[in-house]
Subunit: 205 residues, 3 copies
Amino acid sequence: MNPTDWLLALSLLGTAVFAINGALTAIQAARLDIVGVITLGTITALGGGILRDALLGILPPEGLADWRFLTTALVSSALVFAVHKPLAKLARWVTIFDAAGLSLFSVTGTLVALEHGAGPLLAIILGTTTAVGGGTFRDLLTSRVPQILTSDLYAIPAMVGALATWAIWSLPWHSTALYLGAAALCFAIRMIGVRFKLHAPRVQP
Amino acid sequence: MNPTDWLLALSLLGTAVFAINGALTAIQAARLDIVGVITLGTITALGGGILRDALLGILPPEGLADWRFLTTALVSSALVFAVHKPLAKLARWVTIFDAAGLSLFSVTGTLVALEHGAGPLLAIILGTTTAVGGGTFRDLLTSRVPQILTSDLYAIPAMVGALATWAIWSLPWHSTALYLGAAALCFAIRMIGVRFKLHAPRVQP
Amino acid sequence: MNPTDWLLALSLLGTAVFAINGALTAIQAARLDIVGVITLGTITALGGGILRDALLGILPPEGLADWRFLTTALVSSALVFAVHKPLAKLARWVTIFDAAGLSLFSVTGTLVALEHGAGPLLAIILGTTTAVGGGTFRDLLTSRVPQILTSDLYAIPAMVGALATWAIWSLPWHSTALYLGAAALCFAIRMIGVRFKLHAPRVQP
């Protein structure tokens, strides 16, 4: 595959895992009906990329204009609604799919911004925004304080992934394997944070 | 009236009924002061169209750039504050005005998107977004989980209205009466859903 | 300094005071970790300007594209996290910094809109939006009903500041001192409202 194909494939994969996460959240946290589950899954999946595109001036945003993103989000969410019963421990999977989406979108979001002429700082911010945006919409819509504010090590791995992506992009040569490494780095930091309940310094009372 | 005049008239009517809905919600749910009532009414009225225009790249959005929309929203909200006491059963009227706004905006939102070159899929999504957007902002601002996630048959009638609007627009000829029929269809499905407490399939515990 | 420098200086000052307000809110209301404090401070500081730029079609928004805004927001928020302990009565300072940001942004937001060709009505709306936008995002992210809906005299002083700014801008001559006067007027109305618990007319039960 050429680089554009890889970027598209990773973006669609990120869309699918975030849709699954959003749909599982809807079932686990809010017990919504099928329309609510698909709506929350789709907004979680497409929200970060739509926010990034809106801030870059790519309008209408790719997530709405390209049928492949919308279809991926709708079908993934609907599948969760159809097959969710066998999933015994939803909470764990919610976290894993969220971390996977975070990692993939921190890489693809940064690359999209760089390809549209953004400088390093803007690209890293927009990559992080892409990664955390969908989950933030998901949390706002279900009346929860978003993970970017409360969760131990959530924004930081996304920023590390975005920073690594920019660094790789700046190399004289770069390969898809390196970008997958950046996503894996983000995923590892996030899951280590979840596993060992690591957190950034807190305010002392 | 020519087609553009009809579209404007229906859009302004949708703006007025959503402003009334938002202002009634403010009074009923939150007992806000006059500024809060007018603010919530105006955001409910203009939010969906502003979101649609922002996603289409129509900036500044018509709802802010055209004084007729803003004036309609402000005056309708202020009137509700002035005359609300005679309204005995607010809850019922909140629902009816919400359904009316949903129906009018699903038609006008889809038509605006089609006139700006959107394909069928994007137009139906943006028509639905126009219809449900203002109410979603209203619910977020008053700390409630939005109706698009929780309410039985809320997004579905908006989508049916948008789909019908696209179908009419695709005909070799089309008349305003047909578009009013599409809005009436959306309204009927929504109110039947409310009346008989119909809902989409739920997650089985 | 020439006019553009003054506008930039006031915008950066508004960014700093809103970042301090957002970071203090994070510490006081939510006891977040350092990432949460900096994130909430930065969103409070940049949110209003980003929303204004997005509605004007200035994309990417200045708050993200110009490193000076982002750096100001990040450093101000981080400083609050570092030195917050000596601040004995946080609540009072939260209110004062919020009123300062409201005043500065109502002036600078209106001027940016006017300089980008907005008419009086649109400029006053976007100036008010710039002033209240960041605080609204702050409140939504911390699951509170926003001050624009609930707080006595919050949107009104912002609107007065925006209106005064437009009036000054329309004069055959205008000076920075006059614009500072418009900001002081907004600040005075807001603080008088807070001090004497003034409020707009309420709904009678």
